[in-house]
């Protein structure tokens, strides 16, 4: 790097202050990173559990739907499905994990009544119930998954910041301030020897 550094005491003091700030920031960011990572671990555990649960529920739901179709025929099932009015309410809001915004969903189902009525079978009711269960699990899953993605992104960012401070900013400041200190000392020595030589010359002219 060929940036020129001012070799003054003021600059040295400024750099020292900067270094302290960088150190503080580094420490804080490091703590944030560690906290985020532990949070992330928890989320991933949850995520895996939920994923498994959802898949199981969905498999059951598919099974019951296939039964219902076998009993009633595709068209009949489709007609029943088309007549279902959507009544799910989803409230989406935001939550904070260590300063990372993550979405939060809450879903409310209407009471357990089927909104289709005529010429349907018990199997269809069962399928509806199973799919509702699955949908609930999916909404949960959506929340956790989105949180995990957001957290992962933020961990990456924080990591990069920590590394930049540690590997680039702090060493550079250190290098610069050593350079200034050496330079100042050198100037002082120069000055000292200059004074000595002047003194010697003055004494010589006095003696003459």
């Amino acid at each position: 790097m060929t940036k020129t550094v001012k070799t003054t005491m003021m600059e040295l003091l400024r750099l020292k202050k900067k270094f302290k700030l960088a150190e503080k920031g580094h420490k804080l960011l490091k703590e944030k990173r560690d906290a985020l990572i532990s949070e992330f671990f928890k989320l991933v555990d949850d995520l895996k559990k939920l994923r498994k649960e959802t898949e199981e529920k969905l498999a059951v739901a598919y099974q019951s739907l296939i039964y219902a179709q076998a009993l009633m025929g595709y068209l009949e099932t489709k007609r029943a499905a088309d007549s279902v009015a959507s009544q799910i309410k989803i409230e989406s809001s935001q939550r904070n994990i260590m300063g990372v915004p993550v979405p939060k969903f809450e879903c409310q189902f209407p009471a357990d009544e089927m909104s289709y009525s005529v010429s349907t079978s018990l199997e269809l009711d069962q399928a509806t119930k199973n799919f509702r269960e699955a949908l609930k699990a999916i909404v949960q899953l959506a929340q956790v998954e989105a949180s995990a993605v957001n957290l992962a992104e933020d961990i990456k960012k924080t990591k990069r910041k920590v590394n930049a401070l540690e590997k680039i900013v702090m060493p550079r400041i250190k290098k610069d301030s050593t350079y200034i200190r050496m330079r100042l000392e050198e100037m002082e020595r120069e000055n000292f020897s200059r004074l000595k030589s002047i003194k010697a010359r003055m004494e010589a002219s006095e003696n003459a």
Partner: protein, 100 residues
Amino acid sequence: MKQIAVLGDLELVLGMKLAGASKCLNYQTDKAAEQVNQIKEFPILITTETIAAELKEKKLFQELQGVVVQVPDKSGSRGLALKQVSKLFEDALGLKIENQ
């Protein structure tokens, strides 16, 4: 208010309709762009692993703004979703985890 959208195969759409999801579309390969356009603003989108993979191939996946949940279709899970989790993990921490 916009709610849950479903982009899936016949069975998923039928089931989700029964459960009461608000917007259900049968995925059609030749109308993919149009369909994505219709649902891209929903907060939650449910789709199957197969369709998600196809959307990614067509570069439509990024247009979805909500949370996309990939679920297995009727033939069972292909394990893609779990793979995604461990990829996320790898990206964030730089180490691999074994899937139990």
